[in-house]
């Protein structure tokens, strides 16, 4: 996977955030805005990782607990919780994360293969990892993260 990406030398800005113990990142151009969690309406019978739906300026947005989606438990409630509003294939989706960390300037060349310690994440969800200062950051493959599971529906 890293070879594929290594071919490109495009620098892009990432948003990094905490999920449980680890730091994850997604490209900032996917993120329309970051909002605080607010009231939402639970959707019964929805997949476990879907918290519910909320109103975002007149749009009904599906809220996804990114921790649950990645099979890392659930987001721990705190005042630092944030919702990343992303535009994925024309649909606006809110991703609940534990805490926004920073932004990172990233080049595809920095991407390394996955270490075994991160393999407990839902398979296929990561594009790879890279170093940011002291920390290791895992880059999420948003298509894979948000793709519907096959057995769903």
């Amino acid at each position: 996977m890293s070879e594929e990406l290594g071919g490109r030398d495009e620098r892009q800005l990432l948003i990094t955030f905490d999920l449980g113990e680890s730091v994850f990142a997604i490209p900032s151009d996917l993120v329309q805005e970051v909002v605080k969690p607010s009231l939402y309406t639970p959707v019964h019978h929805a997949p476990e990782y879907v918290l519910g739906i909320r109103n975002l300026r007149g749009r009904v947005v599906t809220l996804v607990d990114l921790c649950r989606r990645l099979e890392l438990g659930a987001v721990t409630e705190s005042g630092d919780n944030r919702v990343l509003i992303v535009d994925w294939q024309g649909e606006t989706i809110g991703l609940l994360v534990d805490r926004i960390v920073d932004t990172a300037d990233f080049s595809a060349q920095d991407l390394k293969p996955l270490p075994p310690s991160l393999l407990n994440v839902r398979s296929g969800s990561l594009s790879g990892i890279f170093r940011q200062g002291e920390r290791t950051v895992a880059l999420l493959d948003m298509d894979s993260v948000l793709q519907l599971d096959k057995h769903q529906n």
């Binding site: 309406t41 959707v43 300026r57």
Partner: protein, 1078 residues
């Protein structure tokens, strides 16, 4: 000249004219239909439209338009004055004229080249044929009118117009209005001027005074005077005021000048108001004139709101004119308000940012958030249009086609008010038109054919729109010849569109759907109207593009129905908001039939459990009940104000449990304010859900023919909601039709009643295996509990019964007929002595009293007749009753049941006789017993049946699921000396049999049983080497020959219908003998 005209003005004129023309079609059709009883108001409306077009086109120099409009107007005037009775010929000519007008108005530049001579001729011919010769002249004659002053030019007008003015008591004026100074500089448009003119009178002629314009080089060329000839009932002063012009530019024209007093005009107005039926154009004009005068000129908003205008005004915008869209004034005002709010919000935001005040920021953010949401919704609403705009054109389409094809077709349009996004309406136009053409062309038959097939001459075409299950459903149905699936299949085969082997496996429905395949057409020959070019496949593709689906249903000879389901992504639907816990849901109003509240004390009577699920008794019908909270799996919860997350509210659930155990009032503290009382009510409502016997709030909902009750916490308001789709991650959830944003900004899910029903298997239950099982269960229960009982009394307060199967005859006797022989009673009966028994002989019941009228119930047991003494009255009942074999069980009484609220003791005649007089040999043990067990041949008499004997007795296996019958049969068999292994179903019996191989000598089994049926049990027995020769007696409630046949096929040795003790015992004895013999 065109260059001189403002493009915008012309565009406005065209738009307005199109609107007039648009409504005209249907109006003309209605007029034709009404015939002699024509609605004058309708004719007036069309007349006014023609008139407006005439006036405007004069201004724009569209002479041919003006001329044609004028002639059409003349004919309409004759219709109006009753000189002509509308018929199809007149309507045809008028329709053609308006078609031509439309064409010319659409292409104003080419209008001068249009050939309208033929139409003019037809119109003239129409008019002339109804006119006297003098009147005919007035059509063509022009009369010269003179102004008051000498210098003003003379104007010649058609005599018809002048006559009309006079008839209406109107004056004719010449006005000179400068388009630049009087109109443009006053903030008005020319159209405003025309509207004002038309509202209060008639514009007879108009012309721009080009001479006054001067050349481009002229410095003073800053005016554009227009000459108008205007007929109105206003007096000169009023006209001058109305148009803000001085007297110089206004003069009265007359062939016979005379001043009309104003007072007279007013009087007329009152007459008109009291005389609505005869309301005429002039009257309407005057009425408006008086209203208009009291208002400042140019109040255009009021004009929009006039009902007669707004109806037609909104009609054409969607389907024809794409450039402009009418928006209702209240909506516009709402948008304006919201825009104001938005500005306010921005200011708050700025202030907050400037002062760096977090609280203010949050407030501003909330405010803006809400305003934006509302603004967005309001703007979305502007896009919604009633589908009537689209449907409106169909009657004309159908009428024209029907005429050409010689068919008689009634069009029935329903659901005009259903609102759809205008993009959807636009997209629907072509597919729907095509489908309607198809229906008229191919679907509906010519009158002759219809009569032959016994149908009314006129075919019916129904075009309807409705909301259903969160979708808009459009139906086009006809009562024509229908579509033959075989013909369609044949045609598809012939064209090579489908292979024969594939066709073989297709249902009729699938064959019908072949017409949606590309390139398919059932038309035998290509006709003018349909079957060429666009076929149903294109219709389908177009509809799919809109997210719609097509369903076809058709019955040969009966008709065809196309159902188009459209998503209502943007549609607004009125919905009921329901509450459950802290959540709210919307149910589309169309799916809600009624709301009921079942009081706590009624719940027990009205809610029953059938087949494991709750049903509600509602006016003698049962409806499935769905507990919405259970369906959703909701546990009491609350929203943590700090994190915004939902938490399970344990406190609340504790309170619930408490409230279910104790008096509700004692748990809830006394509160005084109205608000807290409301709160208390809500709390109590919450508590109610968890107590089985508390009141229920039920919404009776329906969809696709399924009705059920949805139990919720409470009902809130009804709201017009905008449906928003759910995201992809929630796609599979068919119980929701989408989501909506409520007034307070929160999101509510919309319930799809059909999807929900499917999810809880209400709907699928109809054809499912589970339904079959339930039905079988119910039938079995019914059969098993169906008892025919002879009711009699013992002591007067003791109701008794005996199975009718045991009853041979009933005789009324007197007390003195009874002979006592020691303890035994007998009576002379048919020349012999009949032994008598009474219930009191064995059972703990009272003796029959002396004053009771006696009956003897005669039974035959082992060939001997026995009489059971009872008392009148007797009755025979046949019904489903549960027999309780425990409570009243004593020897002689097999059990009890409840009939009409009375406990009935059921006598067991065998036991009675057995106990009273064993010497009658009822319970004689079979010979076989001694033969078989050998050693105990001399042990005990035939009259002593006890457990010690049974140990050595022949073992029989009994499988029977009904407790009652199992006990009965077991007792019968045991009383005959057999040992009985009784099992509640086939599976248990089979297991018992395998455990007791070699012991069990014969099997008695019921047929219908859970787990393993009697038939399956028999098959098992026959299929196993160790058991295959065992005799099997089937004892069943299923008495049909088929049932018997099936039993025998499975290997049942003997088949008996429940329950004949003697026959059963006889068979057991016989079969055991036979099996030993082998």
């Amino acid at each position: 000249m065109d260059e001189l005209l403002d493009d915008e003005l012309l565009q406005e004129f065209i738009t307005e004219t199109r609107e007039h023309l648009y409504s005209i079609e249907n109006d003309l059709l209605s007029i034709e239909e009404q015939g002699e009883n024509v609605d004058l108001e309708l004719v007036n409306k069309v007349f006014r439209a023609a008139h407006s077009i005439k006036g405007g086109s004069g201004f724009f120099g569209l002479d041919k338009v003006k001329e044609l409009a004028h002639r059409a107007e003349t004919v309409l005037d004759m219709l109006r004055s009753g000189k002509m009775v509308p018929n199809s010929e007149i309507t045809n000519v008028l329709l053609a004229a308006f078609d031509q007008l439309r064409e010319m108005v659409n292409m104003p530049g080419d209008s001068r080249n249009a050939d309208i001579s033929e139409l003019l001729q037809s119109l003239n011919a129409l008019a002339s044929s109804y006119l006297s010769s003098a009147e005919k002249d007035s059509l063509h004659n022009e009369t010269v009118l003179k102004g008051e002053s000498e210098k003003s030019p003379e104007i010649s007008l058609p005599q018809v117009d002048i006559d009309r003015s006079e008839r209406m008591g109107q004056n004719i004026y010449r006005l000179s209005i400068d388009l630049i100074h009087d109109i443009e500089h006053q903030g008005m448009t020319v159209l405003d001027l025309f509207n004002k003119l038309w509202d209060q009178g008639e514009l007879l002629d108009s012309a721009l005074d080009f001479a006054a314009v001067g050349s481009l080089e002229d410095e003073i060329a800053n005016q554009l005077p227009m000459q108008l000839v205007y007929s109105t009932s206003l007096d000169a002063r009023q006209v001058a005021e109305l148009f803000s012009i001085d007297d110089e530019r206004l003069e009265r024209l007359s062939s016979n000048p005379q001043e009309e007093p104003v007072a007279e005009t007013v009087t007329e107005t009152f007459e008109v108001e009291n005389n609505v039926a005869e309301n005429d154009l002039d009257a309407a004009g005057q009425e408006k004139a008086n209203v208009g005068l009291s208002k400042p000129p140019g109040s255009e908003i009021n004009k929009q709101e006039k009902p007669d205008k707004s109806v037609e005004a909104s009609s054409s915008a969607v389907t024809k004119v794409e450039e402009t869209l009418r928006v209702s004034v209240p909506l516009l005002e709402k948008l304006m308000n919201l825009a104001g709010e938005l500005v306010l919000g921005r200011n708050q935001l700025r202030a907050a940012i400037a002062s760096n005040n977090d609280l203010a920021l949050t407030k501003a953010d909330q405010h803006l958030n809400q305003v934006t949401t509302e603004l967005q919704d309001a703007i979305m609403q502007t896009r919604l249009q009633p589908i009537g705009h689209l449907f409106g054109k169909f009657p004309r389409v159908v009428r024209d086609m029907a005429r050409t094809l010689g068919k008689d077709i009634q069009v029935d349009i329903r659901g005009k008010d259903v609102e759809l996004d205008r993009s959807l309406i636009e997209g629907l136009s072509d597919p729907l038109t095509h489908m309607i053409r198809n229906a008229v062309d191919h679907g509906l038959e010519i009158p002759g054919e219809r009569i032959e097939s016994g149908k009314p001459t006129a075919g019916t075409l129904i075009i309807s729109a409705s909301h259903e299950a969160g979708q808009v459903v459009i139906e086009i149905s006809d009562d024509g010849r229908g579509m033959d699936p075989e013909k369609i299949a044949h045609s598809a085969l012939k064209k090579g569109q489908i292979r024969e082997e594939k066709l073989a496996g297709m249902s009729d429905q699938e064959k019908l759907e072949l017409i949606l395949m590309p390139g398919f057409s059932t038309a035998e020959q290509v006709s003018e109207f349909s079957g060429r070019g666009v076929g149903m496949d294109v219709v389908k593709t177009n509809l799919n593009k809109l997210g719609g689906q097509v369903e076809i249903s058709s019955t040969v000879g009966k008709g065809t129905r196309f159902r188009i389901k459209l998503p209502l992504t943007l549609a607004i639907i009125p919905s009921l908001i329901i509450s459950l816990e802290n959540e709210r849901f919307a149910i589309p109003q169309v799916n809600v039939e009624e709301l009921i509240r079942i009081r706590a004390e009624e719940v027990k009577n009205r809610v029953e459990i059938v087949g494991g699920s709750e049903v509600l008794l509602l006016r003698d019908k049962t409806l499935p009940l769905v507990r919405f909270d259970e369906f959703l799996g909701i546990v009491p919860s609350y929203v943590d104000p700090q994190t915004g997350r939902r938490e399970v509210d344990r406190r609340l659930s504790l309170a619930d449990r408490r409230s279910s155990r104790y008096d509700l009032n004692s748990v809830i503290p006394q509160q005084t304010s109205a608000e807290s009382q409301l709160h208390t009510l809500n709390k109590r409502g919450d508590g109610r859900r968890h107590t089985p016997d508390s009141a229920l709030e039920v919404a009776i909902v329906s969809s696709n023919g399924t009705r059920y009750g949805l139990v919720v916490d409470g009902f809130q308001d009804t709201e017009e909601i905008v449906v928003k789709p759910l995201g992809r991650h929630l796609e599979g959830l068919n119980e929701y039709a989408g989501a909506t944003i409520l007034g307070d900004g929160s999101v509510a899910l919309i319930i799809d009643t059909a999807g929900l029903a499917e999810k809880v298997e209400l709907m699928s239950a109809a054809g499912s295996q589970r339904a079959a099982e339930l039905k079988q269960d119910a039938e079995r229960k019914r059969l098993e509990n169906q008892h025919a009982l002879l009711m009699f009394h013992n002591a007067s307060d003791e109701q008794c019964a005996i199975s009718l199967d045991n009853v041979l005859r009933i005789e009324r006797i007197h007390h003195d007929q009874i002979e006592m022989h020691g303890q035994r009673r007998t009576m002379q009966y048919r020349g012999a002595s009949l032994p008598l028994v009474t219930m009191a002989d064995t059972a703990r019941v009272k003796e029959i009293e002396q004053d009771q009228e006696l009956v003897v119930i005669v039974s035959k047991i082992k060939g001997n007749e026995i009489g059971l003494l009872g008392a009148m009255p007797v009755d025979v009942i046949e019904r489903c009753v549960e027999i309780d074999t425990v409570t009243h069980r004593t020897p002689g009484i097999l059990g009890s049941t409840i009939v009409d609220d009375t406990t009935v003791l059921i006598a067991d005649i065998y036991e009675l006789v057995d106990t009273v007089n064993p010497s009658w040999g009822v319970a004689s043990r079979p010979e076989l017993l001694r033969f078989d067990t050998g050693s105990n041949a001399d042990e005990g008499g035939p009259d002593t049946v006890n457990a010690s004997h049974q140990i050595d007795a022949v073992t029989l296996l009994l499988a029977e699921d009904s407790d009652f019958f199992r006990n009965q049969v077991k007792r019968h068999l045991e009383s005959a000396g057999y040992r009985v292994l009784a099992c509640p179903d086939g599976q248990a019996a089979w297991e018992q049999l395998l455990d007791n191989l070699g012991q069990v000598r014969l099997v008695v089994t019921d047929i219908e049983m859970p787990r393993l049926s009697g038939l399956e049990l028999t098959r098992n027995i026959r299929g196993d080497e160790k058991t295959k020769s065992l005799p099997v007696i089937a004892v069943s409630s299923l008495a049909g020959d088929d049932d018997r046949e099936r039993g025998m096929q499975c290997g049942v040795t003997e088949y008996q219908v429940k329950l004949d003790r003697d026959a059963l015992l006889e068979a057991v004895e016989r079969l055991l003998e036979e099996s030993v013999a082998h």
